[in-house]
């Protein structure tokens, strides 16, 4: 190898020196790295002594002296000769000892070689020199897998193959062409040495004339370093992701905390309002027990019912604020879901269930609502029902009943009402009842519409069976079964059913939504009240959730009011008739069409049913329930409601018809008056005060005065405007405008077009116009989500491919809202929800309905029908849209 090197050097030396002054590798001689051999010094002695004679010239003495002197010089000369001879001899000897120059040189070289080997023996480097054609002229490789003769004279590609080989050769070529040294990392994947990354340094080599004659290259194996570096990069990325997640989490936590605080404040506020208000109501109730004339009583009744309504509203807020995220939202959305199925809802109250009991209204309502909405959620066909009956004190209740009854009294605010004078019990809700009892004096129609007709009879029953036997308060155990014909619960899931965040399976969670908290809370609530919640179920047949709770029965019911009043007696007769029916205590909802049940019914009927069903306590409970329902149909069926304005009479008739099958329990004699009132009320609300008188005229059996009607209006008003505002875009129309605006929008369903192409917008808009629809237009998915947040649409036509956000994503976000009742997914996607001021009271009380979303696809591959369906779209219309397609679509999705 070394020999080769030397030869090389010699060869290069022969080349002529050019004028190149670049500081780069030029082969112009041997690099004199090694120290020169030290030169020997010449130690020459030169004697130079002058002869000095003092005597006069040419005298005897002179000559004598001279002769002597010369003699001395001769002697010295001879001595010197002798010395030189010796020196010569010595030199010859030395010369003989001295080694030859060739030998010296080879020794130097040998040392250099040893040094190089020593330094490089374990270094992972390869270096070499390649000529102009990139053939190896020299190579050093400590771990050679090839012999030198396999390499020298060959190029890289001739030697080995694999990825990286060509690259390295190209790189060398590049360096040679550019004439500038460069470094590069090249990863090789070859059979020769496997997968390795080399840092390669290549520099061009010039001749003295400045021509490029080849390259030097040095490669170092940095495979490990590269691997480490890559791992570091990965770790850094992971850290960054982790950090982003943490930030996100912190933000969520922050938001949650804020929300909690807001809720807490709301709860406190509601409480603060409730306390003085209950004072007002209680005093009014006491006032009601005093002697009053007819007029005064009437006024007081208005006061009581209004006060009670406000109280009820506040209680609801309180309730909402306490269990909002877990249960209420849950209930609302599932309640909405139920409306999209054909289900029979039925209730069955056994005869022996007292009509008035005392319990924690809010909690019981919460439990019941939860169980019912659960039942509805998991039932796709058949029925969901509630059965109530009295049971003997269960064995577990010995200490539990105490606890439960104690808890329930906390909710009572009006207990100080003298028992013998009012027929009503002591719970807050009783004012409802009292209000209606009071009204019985005035007009029977009013009574019936607001209150459960069967009540007095039931009261009577209690009187007979329990009241007189024992004294003021007794505990009664009522068992409540909430049953359904739903999907049922597999046996192995039963043990964990009441555990927090547990659902039967992940699959169920995905399919049915929900947090898995509902049942856990129910169980907890029931147990806190001293009861038990149990379940029995069979897969595919249905489930029955049963809770047994102790209630207190207030027995001091006197019917002096009723018996005083001849009207009331007739009332009683009516009820008596109905009571004899086989349907006693049984009622049923059977949705004919999904809309008609609730929109025609409004809250009054459900309220009534409930009042009957579960007595005082539960009237509240189901009020809440019905309110939830109510908000759905009104938002959904705005058109229907508005129809009333346009054609109040015909709709009123329709109402009568449609209401019949809904409630098998309803008494036919009441019917007219009920619907008349319903009509009157609605009419009244919608058209406002102008028609007040006429509405009264309309109701045939209404013997009450105009004030009666006022009462009704007042009751229903607080609900309606709130809903309307929530729905409407601006939320700020004056009431008079409502009826107008309303009549405009009645026949015109609200349609949203999401399309970014101006021309398409123009064409579609124009077609829709010809089809009789005006439409809202937005230009991308984000705007579409915002539009849906602000206004409820009956149909959305959605372009798929759009800037900012495409139609598929927008659809997913809207569907997510419909499933979960919140816009979290949209917020995650960066769409902040605009907060309409009117929304603040019941932000989620309008259960989202399923908006038909029709994709408008351009038939491109990226916009396949499957993808549209997979993202939650209902159908698709291929572009360009035509009259026919639009028409078909509207016919299908706008009933």
């Amino acid at each position: 190898m070394l020999v080769h090197w030397i030869l090389e050097e010699h060869r290069f030396e022969e080349e002529r020196y050019g004028g190149d002054k670049r500081s780069i590798s030029i082969l112009d001689g041997i690099y004199d790295i090694w120290q020169e051999v030290p030169r020997r010094k010449k130690n020459v002695v030169v004697p130079s002594k002058r002869v000095e004679i003092d005597a006069e010239y040419d005298t005897v003495i002179y000559w004598k002296q001279r002769a002597m002197h010369l003699e001395k010089m001769l002697e010295a000369s001879m001595q010197r000769e002798q010395l030189l001879k010796e020196k010569l001899q010595e030199s010859i000897k030395n010369l003989e000892k001295q080694s030859s120059p060739v030998e010296e040189l080879s020794q130097i070289l040998k040392r250099a070689d040893n040094f190089l080997h020593f330094v490089l023996q374990t270094a992972p480097v390869v270096f070499g020199h390649q000529d102009k054609e990139l053939r190896y002229r020299f190579i050093y490789n400590h771990f050679p897998s090839l012999q030198e003769e396999d390499i020298l004279g060959k190029t890289d590609v001739e030697i080995f193959t694999g990825s990286g080989v060509k690259e390295s050769q190209d790189f060398k070529k590049e360096v040679m062409d550019k004439g500038l040294p460069a470094k590069r990392e090249i990863t090789f994947e070859t059979e020769l040495f496997g997968s390795k990354t080399f840092l390669i340094y290549v520099e061009p080599v010039f001749s003295k004339a400045g021509e490029t004659i080849g390259i030097n290259y040095m490669g170092m194996d940095i495979t490990d370093q590269v691997r480490k570096r890559e791992r570091m990069i990965k770790i850094r990325e992971e850290i960054a992701v982790q950090k982003a997640k943490e930030t996100e989490l912190n933000r969520t936590i922050h938001i949650t905390e804020e929300t909690m605080r807001a809720k807490q404040m709301l709860a406190t506020m509601s409480h603060e309002i409730r306390s003085p208000l209950s004072g007002v109501v209680s005093m009014a109730e006491i006032l009601a027990t005093t002697k009053l004339d007819r007029e005064q009583r009437q006024l007081l009744n208005v006061m009581l019912s209004s006060g009670d309504l406000v109280l009820q509203l506040i209680n609801d807020i309180l309730d909402l604020s306490k269990v909002e995220s877990e249960v209420v939202k849950h209930v609302l959305q599932t309640a909405a879901a139920s409306l999209q199925k054909i289900l029979t809802l039925e209730g069955n109250v056994a005869d022996d269930v007292p009509i008035e009991v005392i319990g924690d209204v809010l909690r019981i309502r919460q439990i019941l609502t939860n169980l019912i909405s659960n039942a509805i959620k998991f039932t796709h066909e058949g029925k969901v029902g509630v059965k109530l009956y009295v049971v003997p004190e269960p064995p577990f209740a010995k200490e539990g009943s105490q606890h439960g009854s104690d808890g329930s009294t906390a909710n009572q605010t009006t207990t100080n009402v003298p028992k013998e004078e009012t027929c009503t019990s002591t719970s807050q809700t009783s004012s409802d009842q009292r209000g209606f009892h009071g009204k019985k004096h005035e007009g029977s129609c009013q009574n019936r519409s607001q209150c459960e007709p069967g009540t007095p009879v039931m009261n009577g029953k209690i009187d007979v069976t329990e009241e007189q036997a024992e004294l003021p308060e007794t505990t009664v155990w009522i068992r409540c079964d909430v049953y359904d014909t739903g999907i049922g619960i597999p046996e192995n899931a039963l043990p964990t059913l009441f555990k927090k965040y547990m659902q039967v399976s992940a699959d169920h969670a995905r399919k049915y939504g929900g947090t898995g908290l509902g049942l856990a809370i129910c169980k907890q609530l029931v147990e806190l009240m001293g009861g038990r919640l149990t379940v029995s179920s069979r897969v595919h047949c249905g489930s029955t959730f049963t809770f047994i709770l102790p209630y207190k029965v207030s027995l001091s019911c006197d019917h002096s009011d009723d018996s005083d009043d001849p009207n009331d007696l007739s009332d009683m007769d009516d009820h008596g008739d109905s009571d004899d029916d086989a349907t006693n205590g049984f009622f049923q909802f059977q949705p004919l069409t999904l809309g008609s049940l609730f929109s025609s019914n409004g809250s009054s009927r459900t309220q009534k049913l409930l009042a009957h069903n579960i007595g005082h306590v539960n009237s509240h409970k189901i009020n809440g329930f019905s309110e939830n329902y109510c908000s759905f149909p009104t938002s959904n069926g705005q058109a229907k409601e508005m129809d009333l304005v346009e054609d109040a009479c015909s709709v009123a008739e329709a109402l009568e018809i449609s209401s019949e099958p809904e409630c098998s329990f309803s008494h036919s004699p009441d019917h007219d008056s009920e619907s008349a009132i319903c009509r009157g009320r609605r009419h009244h609300n919608d058209v406002n005060a102008e028609n007040k008188v006429s509405t009264i005229d309309v109701s045939p059996t209404c013997s009450g005065t105009s004030r009666e009607v006022d009462v009704k209006v007042k009751i229903s008003e607080p609900q309606l405007p709130a809903e309307r505002q929530g729905r409407s875009d601006s939320g700020s129309q004056s009431t008079l405008n409502i009826s107008q605006e309303v009549s405009n929008s009645i026949s015109k369903p609200k349609i949203l077009l999401v399309e970014d192409n101006k021309i398409n917008v123009l064409v579609t808009q124009s077609m829709m116009k010809q089809l009789g629809h005006t439409i809202d237009v937005v230009n991308n998915g984000v705007q579409a989500v915002r539009a849906v947040q602000c206004r409820s649409y009956d149909l959305v036509l959605m372009d798929v491919c759009m800037p900012v956000m495409d139609g598929l994503q927008a659809t997913r976000l809207i569907r997510s809202f419909e499933e979960t009742g919140n816009w979290d997914a949209a917020a995650k996607a960066g769409i902040e929800r605009p907060s309409p001021s009117s929304d603040s009271l019941q932000p989620d009380c309008t259960p989202p309905k399923h908006i038909p979303i029709i994709a408008m696809t351009a038939n491109a591959l990226s916009e396949s029908a499957e993808e549209c369906f997979a993202n939650g779209m209902d159908s698709f219309v291929s572009k360009p849209v035509t009259f026919q397609k639009l028409k078909e679509c509207l016919e299908q999705y706008l009933p």
């Binding site: 970014d756 192409n757 101006k758 021309i759 398409n760 123009l762 064409v763 124009s766 077609m767 010809q770 491919c801 800037p803 351009a858 491109a860 572009k879 360009p880 849209v881 035509t882 009259f883």
Partner: protein
Amino acid sequence: MDLVHLQRQLVDYRTSLYHEGFLDEQFTQLQSLQDENNPDFVVEVVSLFFEDSERLLNELSKALEQQIIDFKRMDAQVHQLKGSSSSIGAHRVQKLCIVFRNYCEAQNVEGCLKCLQQVKHEYGIIKTKLESMFQLEQQILNAGGSIPV
């Protein structure tokens, strides 16, 4: 006489546009949207189409001149053009856009350039044709006639 001649000319011209595939049924749809309340609907939409298309074509030309070509953006623009041309029934332009999009997806510069040329060409033709058709219609209207359906 002159009016009848003009009307016949218009009908023939229009028919030829359909026959030669410059226009498709969508244009008929467009025409059916025009009524007394909206007498200039077709011209308005088509003008908008011209405006929009020219802007898009300009942007596409510029995009293709760039050192680094933003194919994604181009694809979106061609999608727009495809949408609007299909909406007014500019059949040939629309068909070309489909091919164009494929090239955009494949990031084929040459294909894109070629397609852009073709689209520009087709667009020029349909523009001229539609404009002369509108002229013809205007002439008929000026002469007190009605546009034959």
